[in-house]
Amino acid sequence: MNAVVGRGKYVKAAVDGGKMKPAAEYKGCRASANTGQASCGSQAGPGDLPIEIWEKVKNHPCYSEEAHHHYARMHVAVAPACNIQCNYCNRKYDCANESRPGVVSEKLTPEQALRKVLAVATTIPQMTVLGIAGPGDPLANPAKTFKTFELVAKAAPDIKLCLSTNGLALPDHIDTIAGSKIDHVTITINMVDPEIGAKIYPWIFFNHKRYTGIDAARILTDRQLQGLEMLSERGILCKVNSVMIPNINDDHLVEVNKAVKSRGAFLHNIMPLISAPEHGTVFGLNGQRGPTAWELKALQDACEGEIKMMRHCRQCRADAVGLLGEDRSAEFTTDQLMKMDVQYDLEMRKGYQDGVEDERAAKVAAAQKELTEFAGEMSAITLLVAVATKGSGLINEHFGHAKEFQVYELSTSGAKFVGHRRVDVYCQGGYGEEDRLYAIMGGIHDCHAVFVSKIGGCPKSNLIKAGIEPVDQYAHEFIEKSAIAWFKSYLDKVKRGEIQHEQRGDAAIRQGSRISAA
């Protein structure tokens, strides 16, 4: 495996990239077409983020969508116990909603986890973040969680550490967190109203007792908000995750958004409920549905002005490894790790990451240039397009191989990332499957076009029939620059009367398990 060092799958382009303006100088704020509000979200530039926060998040794939294209994260599963029960979780299997799996993922000791971190960091030099997100609640296993962080901080000082928690035990561990190298904490907050909480959480285990119903939810929300305040006071960055559950907390999440913002959360991530009966969760079994793509986007948009919204979360599994939607965890099982010869090389990693920075700068500059040429154009038209990408901000995935599509909202002010859609891969062993194609089209039904590096004749004609334009002339070019160029020609055609602009319908969020590596 030494041979792989510095020559990972994604290295080529990064190393070639010329020296350009550093990404940090780029202002990511764009006026959003509908609200006129700045909507930099967690995108390319610092926007109105204080510079010290931007420094912390710019290379963090979870906090910056743009960084998500270039940097990777990993989770280690050292902490399987949990102190609450959620109706969207069935701990017999990997949790469908949060990175909180149960028995399926490999459980590691802190020492094994360290070995894994070093092996991954050596193989994938763009791995910059280690998160402990369970399975279970990391703070329900504080000894193992903090031991792992301590070992990693010593052996690999450049890796950022982060922690995800349900918040119940958070106030008890603030000093340990502040005293460690952890600079990001994610709290899952689904409600601030105990009546609503009682519909989400059947019980909690607190102070050696099991609490149920409204009592349980009241304790939980008090502890979560208290923990968030304490983190903010100590200057520790805090992101809030919320699971959107239609008819239970969907409207209420606007209130949650306000409550967490006022207590200093810097990013809010609203994720769709994933509930299929086969997951065996309470919600899955009683037919609780998840939101549609439109419902999710409308709620995210409604919260956007209050706080930065994160829209690229992939709800990945607790032992996920790799870049973007990819999961390379299978390469790093305990068996594999034992065979690897691990040599942590800080210089090699740094050299690699400098190349990545150059590539990012080139990408940003290209989009800027395209946008400058666009200046003066005004149109009320906004539309969505889907992009097949393997990362690095490029249109570099075959339609038939795409495991997900990135969705961008185009307007005369630019291309804004608004989400991603998981799909089942269309090509299996060289043959496309009809059913899958319809499922994929359902997943991007709200998009006017899909950008790919390549696409077969059959899916192409079906997409056209469904009113989604397949676009392959920008293969291997930067996403945002290409999307703006395409949008320009689209507006021209509308102006010339060649086509008529029409709104598209809603799209379905894939309900299958999104945690599987496939």
Partner: protein, 74 residues
């Protein structure tokens, strides 16, 4: 009466293990077990048996009725 863990239901999440005031719980071959001789039902320590209260799978930590009623040490 001591408690026992129904192995086929245990997810081996390890939530129970550190909570037991008597160190009666340990992992054996992927599942957690309670050493009957050490379990005091948490009497004198907590109001509720900790393994029962923390276990995410209902009816997995249960009273071991296969043992004679007063066999467990006080």
């Amino acid at each position: 009466m001591p408690f026992k863990i129904i192995a086929s239901q245990c997810t081996s999440c390890s939530a129970c293990e550190p909570l037991c005031p008597n160190d009666a719980i340990s992992e054996k071959r992927g599942s957690f077990v309670i050493e009957a001789a050490k379990c005091t039902e948490c009497v004198g320590h907590f109001d509720e048996p900790q393994c029962v209260a923390a276990c995410p799978v209902d009816n997995t930590c249960v009273v071991d009725t296969s043992l004679p009623r007063y066999q467990a040490p006080a």
